[in-house]
Subunit: 299 residues, 2 copies
């Protein structure tokens, strides 16, 4: 086991993950806490709690994600695309009292610019873990606010946000489309998911006229109430893929939570696309790489 | 003032409207109660409460809407399109204890069929109030579940549901897109609405990549936080119009709540379409016409 060199924190809206890292980015210890910036704004205390028992006084700390937003601890201004790991490393924002540094987010070349915070670090990590992706690739990062990103010459050159995860959650929890499954014990159904993916692919008019079919399929007995959320998930993922594939092409890698990435991989397979590799643990790898380039730790 | 001949009830999920009608469909009295089928399932008591003081013992009662659904008082089976007022009148379902009749809903020719309950009666009413629409027209009924309907030879031949109203409500109340306005006193902004309508029209990829722009426009200072819901509303209405216009053509009339219809009329005007007339009070007119054709009241 290597010695710890860095405390790295992936600090989001609802939760944070803290990592104790040693060379060459090895995860020596990891902790998760449901104390994201919208859940607990006593940021110094949250960091202390997440790192208790670690040699915090001797090690540098680096954090990425919504902790650098206007609602976070210290605002880390966005860096515009195209942006390399060195551009990010040069733009770190210090935390108060020498507590560490925050990685900036990115803005896209769109008008108005799209934004990301946290995913830029996952992308850096994915390129560190899979160097072949750096020259030219399309990366898909599923999640609450899924990102499709284009990488060229080691730089993020463009990206776009799809609110697929959040849209699914609000429709599941608050709309009529979630009701059949709320009244039933939900059962995972690959068939219902596939039916939704294919319906979205055929729906040239986009999502608006498709959403209500998550109800009509249940009324017509085509989809069981217990499987209706899988159909809805298929519709939403399928619609994201229809749009993302047209704008960005087939992803060369899926970056993020393996279970969620597996769902996107299944949808891509349903549409006849080659399986893209899944890159997990990208956030600690990215934080390590940025800390190296910022000379916070020796390269 | 004419004598009352009919008690007509437009009975939905969240509220109901009861009308005391005389020839030729004149509204003599009207009441609204927040006791739709999902709010109060003591249906006989709700009807008694909504009609108290009216000569209920002497008059026939007819109701339309979700009261005829599986979750309602008595299930009134759907009638398939194409369907005329006579098809609806022949398919009334009796209420228990001779309390009256329920108008059936419609199913579309799609696979699986789309469904409506209540709007079929509004369409009958719109054709009664504006007979020129009966030969051939496209009707747009904005709402929680907006309907676009094609009418030919006095029959509803096809329709499609857009969940625009419900999607707006869940995103406003439960997603990050509603947050800026929740933290601010919302201010109505026609400019923000128009910006959203135009953005949706230019978004050839549909709604999925557009939704997050309701956030990026605020972050970039293009839309004030207080006006962000108008931008979102413009996006959603604009996306519905993009899809509906492609499938159904320009609406010949807007049917329903005048304030909501005015919003759609504004969006159509932004896109350069001629103003469509707004048909209000369509539900009581439709219930009267269906009761006539069912010989519940003299024609």
């Amino acid at each position: 086991m290597t010695d710890p060199h860095l405390i790295a924190v992936d600090w989001g809206t609802t939760s944070l993950r803290a990592y104790l890292l040693g060379p060459p980015g090895t995860v020596l210890d990891a902790r998760e806490a449901p104390r994201g910036i919208m859940r607990d704004d006593r940021f110094a205390a949250v960091l202390d709690g997440a790192t208790v028992g670690w040699p915090t006084a001797e090690l540098p700390t680096i954090a990425s994600g919504m902790i650098g937003s206007l609602q976070g601890w210290v605002r880390a201004p966005y860096v515009p695309c195209p942006a390399s790991v060195d551009d990010l490393a040069r733009a770190l924002t210090p935390l108060p009292d020498g507590r560490g540094h925050i990685v900036p987010g990115l803005t896209s070349p769109a008008d108005p610019p799209d934004v990301m915070r946290g995913e830029e670090t996952q992308i850096v990590g994915a390129l560190a873990l899979r160097p072949a992706l750096a020259a030219s690739s399309c990366l898909l990062l599923p999640g609450t606010h899924a990102k499709w990103a284009r990488v060229a010459d080691g730089r993020v050159v463009d990206f776009r946000t799809f609110m697929t995860g959040e849209l699914f959650a609000v429709l599941r929890d608050h709309s009529i489309l979630g009701r059949p499954a709320r009244d039933t014990a939900a059962v995972a159904s690959d068939d219902a998911f596939a039916l939704g993916v294919r319906a979205a692919q055929e729906g040239s008019e986009g999502l608006a006229p498709l959403l209500f079919t998550a109800r009509t399929h249940v009324l017509a007995g085509r989809v069981e109430a217990a499987a209706s959320l899988d159909f809805l998930s298929g519709l939403l993922v399928g619609d994201e893929l229809r749009s993302g594939l047209a704008a960005f092409g087939v992803p060369d890698a899926l970056v993020g939570d393996p279970a969620l990435c597996a769902r996107y991989a299944a949808a891509l397979a349903i549409l006849g696309h080659a399986p893209a590799p899944v890159v997990d643990h990208a956030a600690p790898a990215g934080l390590w790489r940025i800390a190296e380039r910022a000379h916070i730790i020796p390269a």
